[in-house]
Symmetry: D2
Amino acid sequence: MTHLVYPGATHSRFQHTIGCMHLISAAINTLQQKGFSITDEESEAVHAAILMHDLGHAPFSHVLESTLVKKITHEEISLLFMERLNKEFNGKLSMAIEIFKNRYPKRFLHQLISGQLDMDRLDYLRRDSFYTGVSEGVVSSDRIIKMLTLHNDELVVEAKGIYSIEKFLIARRLMFWQVYLHKTALVSEKMLNKTVKRAAYIASKKGDTGAPGTLEFFLKTDKESIDFKNDPQVLNNFAMLDDNDIMSALKIWSYSEDKVLSWLSNALLNRKLLAIEIEKDKFTKNHIHQLREIAVKELSLTYSESKYFVFTDTIENNAYNIFDDKIKILFKNSRVKDISQASDILNLSVLSKTVRKNILCYPKNINEQ
Amino acid sequence: MTHLVYPGATHSRFQHTIGCMHLISAAINTLQQKGFSITDEESEAVHAAILMHDLGHAPFSHVLESTLVKKITHEEISLLFMERLNKEFNGKLSMAIEIFKNRYPKRFLHQLISGQLDMDRLDYLRRDSFYTGVSEGVVSSDRIIKMLTLHNDELVVEAKGIYSIEKFLIARRLMFWQVYLHKTALVSEKMLNKTVKRAAYIASKKGDTGAPGTLEFFLKTDKESIDFKNDPQVLNNFAMLDDNDIMSALKIWSYSEDKVLSWLSNALLNRKLLAIEIEKDKFTKNHIHQLREIAVKELSLTYSESKYFVFTDTIENNAYNIFDDKIKILFKNSRVKDISQASDILNLSVLSKTVRKNILCYPKNINEQ
Amino acid sequence: MTHLVYPGATHSRFQHTIGCMHLISAAINTLQQKGFSITDEESEAVHAAILMHDLGHAPFSHVLESTLVKKITHEEISLLFMERLNKEFNGKLSMAIEIFKNRYPKRFLHQLISGQLDMDRLDYLRRDSFYTGVSEGVVSSDRIIKMLTLHNDELVVEAKGIYSIEKFLIARRLMFWQVYLHKTALVSEKMLNKTVKRAAYIASKKGDTGAPGTLEFFLKTDKESIDFKNDPQVLNNFAMLDDNDIMSALKIWSYSEDKVLSWLSNALLNRKLLAIEIEKDKFTKNHIHQLREIAVKELSLTYSESKYFVFTDTIENNAYNIFDDKIKILFKNSRVKDISQASDILNLSVLSKTVRKNILCYPKNINEQ
Amino acid sequence: MTHLVYPGATHSRFQHTIGCMHLISAAINTLQQKGFSITDEESEAVHAAILMHDLGHAPFSHVLESTLVKKITHEEISLLFMERLNKEFNGKLSMAIEIFKNRYPKRFLHQLISGQLDMDRLDYLRRDSFYTGVSEGVVSSDRIIKMLTLHNDELVVEAKGIYSIEKFLIARRLMFWQVYLHKTALVSEKMLNKTVKRAAYIASKKGDTGAPGTLEFFLKTDKESIDFKNDPQVLNNFAMLDDNDIMSALKIWSYSEDKVLSWLSNALLNRKLLAIEIEKDKFTKNHIHQLREIAVKELSLTYSESKYFVFTDTIENNAYNIFDDKIKILFKNSRVKDISQASDILNLSVLSKTVRKNILCYPKNINEQ
């Protein structure tokens, strides 16, 4: 929903995927030129792997990730797609899948598609910063890729690239707060999430919501029992689903007899967003209760329905946590240091700490009463 | 459908509209600085007019323009929206509407939103060239705007801007052939048009196609009798319609029992496009008949159905004709010359001639048989 | 002197030369990928040739070209440098020299460094447009290079590149009038030329002008008798000469006892430029005579000295004439057409005509008297 | 000498000065829009002040700063120029001078031209990063300026600009090590410094070095006794001096009878640079002595002369120290925090520490003997 804040941000996952493949090419090239052996077959496999790595995303990706389906991550769904494609291609994707699953011996190939400095991040930071116009998020992916090398079959960065890494981490932090967690985008995403949850509730209780067929399928089905592995039709339906269906459904839902669903859908379509507050401390139960009481009165809701309008949540930047594994810097004497030790300027212990914040959403104007 | 050729071209009409408004501001500024009187009210009105000038576009604009509705242009629908908004705003948009309809005395205000050098063209040429990456289409809108001035209340260009105008016309021609009429975009758009026509046929004969409600409304309604003016619900429904509904419908239609509808929808979704040929001369009836015969056999169609797969059409660049009115150049001695006389280098009689070409589409591979 | 108009235009010949080499690489690559045979030796030779092609330029190139030395072109001097370098490199540059002299069998290699679409032009148009900020002069060198191919061992352009060529020619025309022949740059260059001519006159009559040694050498020497071929010291001195010496000399000359030399030097240093008029028709002898008479009085000059302050000249764009040889377009049926026939839009007979204009310079303000 | 490493870096101080003035305009605008009072006269004065702030730089600025003249800083010379200009303009520059000297009551006006976040730094970081192509040094001057505000008449940054400031400091550090202290630029600058010192030595001992007149003036004059204030001719001569004179002189000196002067000049002209080592620890006297001994033998020098070829120096980034005064961040509750406390991520105590390094230069190849 970032385009509500930055109207230029209408770029697609398809563009991102092509971009990732382009960066993989550059990285493979750099490593080969530095004398590391990567066969043509391996190169093709890692290209294929990154082309497929995001196939499992739901519409609006993270926003609806655990709403439409549950107990399965988007990586697992990506893998299911890869396996089905592998059958169609008579096993030609086997090596790509090994790399994706991190079971291939040359571990750095996996690190190129998933790791601290993977091509995915390099592409999306640069692309998002370009299309939002937040020029400060620009990361010099070219230069970082040229500084990549291997040490014990692991991806590391040459010492002279240390300033570029510092800038990469700072730019990431800036994009995180200025774009990915921008208040307006955040509240819209939460509202979209609530809307789809309400539609699923209606679908399970009362039947059709009028949404396009494949979307209705996931709304109706008991989330707990969705079985991607045993029923091939589930994956088929998932493949047919995209953002257009959600947007189209919102317009249908805006005429729904269910007051909650129509209110939320209309609000999203006409940009009448809820108010949002972000605080370090938890909001008190009492405060939330009071807001729900007012909402009940103002919008003529049941108390139970008011939870779609007044709600809290937590956000944390560990979705962007930088310490799954380490960014390693290679010095001339062949010693490798963690970036947290190599950089004397960045307080990485702070950077790595999970920042958890509380958000509170409620209909505009009611807080003053 | 240009994004099938240039994946970066996912920019929206909203961005374009904001861009137009930005250029209008610059143009108003330039004219005021050159001493021409434009009141604050007039400035606001022309800003409002350009913000609303494209409201009447159907989804996929020109592609479906006369398919979903008939006997009414998108300009007329824009005007209906403006008039409804004017009521809501208690007449505050009256001057904007006068300007849009070219009934306002200062005619140059209308020329800024609709004319040979209007801000609409300056914005879309530059924007489309930016997002497609066809950098040669870049038009220096900044400089052209700085060269604008008035002569007898008409928009004219200062003589020293003549090279910029030459470049503008050449860039336009380049964008026309390289982007707007690119073969792949063209055939996709023709197919989309045929698909929606087939859906309308089904809707009129057999009832529901399963498309989202407001789309279904326009499919079902007899095009000839659609009455925007007397039935306010028509405009309401039109306002709810956008590209998402078409994309969502294609996925539903891909499961249709109607073979034609499902074949075309699937073809668009999976990029299995028809073959396309573009020629100066008309294709012979005999040749077309033969192709239809083969299609009938290959795809098990009735002869009548084959017209959705084998068809001709004409394209002309007079949609982009540059000679509705003239681009006038103002020389130092206050004489005004038409650009066609002012430029000694461009053969504008050629540029102005309508180029009409014939296209022929048919399923791939069948022509060789 | 273009930086007097466009302050960003401080780029150097060195940058341009590296740029040319970069474009040659791209062009060689494109041709090889299209299946044409170019050996490694040939590739190296054409790289070397373009690196050296401009070595023979005098300081401020065309401005002082026939002032410091005479009866020898900058291409001939470039060749002398190449031959001397070839000795130092034990003949390794022989093939590069053959290509430069257009004596190498594969003629297209020469066309890449000197011809209608050579890499020299592609680089300087783009570079000059970038550094002046005249963004409309931008030429899509990338795309033009990708459209290059061979036909009978000659460089030709694929038919689908025709719009790019049209734009190249229009951009060139725009740069020509907006940058290269900009009034202010033009008058400064004429004044610089006059200043150096006066210094040469002083040097020949009265001895030292105080200029740096190698510059003084060329000022003092009888231009007619300068012999690059027989006296190796001449080439040595020429190699030592660059723009810095001229700029440094201007400051010394600004203190000269010779009134003409000090006046002109001061005028250039402090941007007190002469007035300039540009007309199609010749200025009358009578008018010029009158201006010289006034200058004599106002600046206390002899009549003979006044020719440094009041003078005419002609400029023609045939320095940029595009019809030395032809730009050839290759159509699918292997037929080759001249761009003048292939483009229906550009009036190339006009574009190719030599435009000759007359300029008149004189001290500011005196014309009104 | 940075252009030896980054050939695009040929931009001039003139461009930089215009750029600073442009940023001042933007900053003044921003502050006025936020409701702070700045009169037209004050605005003009601060524009004038920044236009003149760098007038006192010697050729090659810091490289030759204390070589050509001594006991006077470039700021003091700038002030002398301003005062002379103020006389010519009948006192119209008095307020500009007050601001420059930080004697004007509204202190923030001075801070805009000299301080932690002055327009000078914003311009040169961005400009240098643009022209070198070190894109990572890009600073978002636009955004930083928009975040500026006042608190107690002091320039402060709004809290939401904190990430931009972090990025500014990191970018600065990157430019510092990757550009300003690049090894090759550094050794060239040290060599240029030594060359001019040698020329001054020759000039004082033996008379003329053949350099252009105004340069010779500063070479010959006893540095200690140069008196800018009492002898107006000194300032005149200084005004006439620029980089061209140094470059022109190098070519003359390359023919000098003095072996040291000609060797160094030739080395600079032909890019035969000395070797350079950079270490945290001091180089031992013994090691230096040995190198000098070898240089004496290899290059046939006296021991005293060898100090021009083998020498040490220290570099420190406190020329770029960021803690003269503080960058202050303004929070919503009107509290002001130092950036070092406001940022939890940057270890500013490290960033502020003076890093002092030792460099050792010597003729290439001799160290291995």
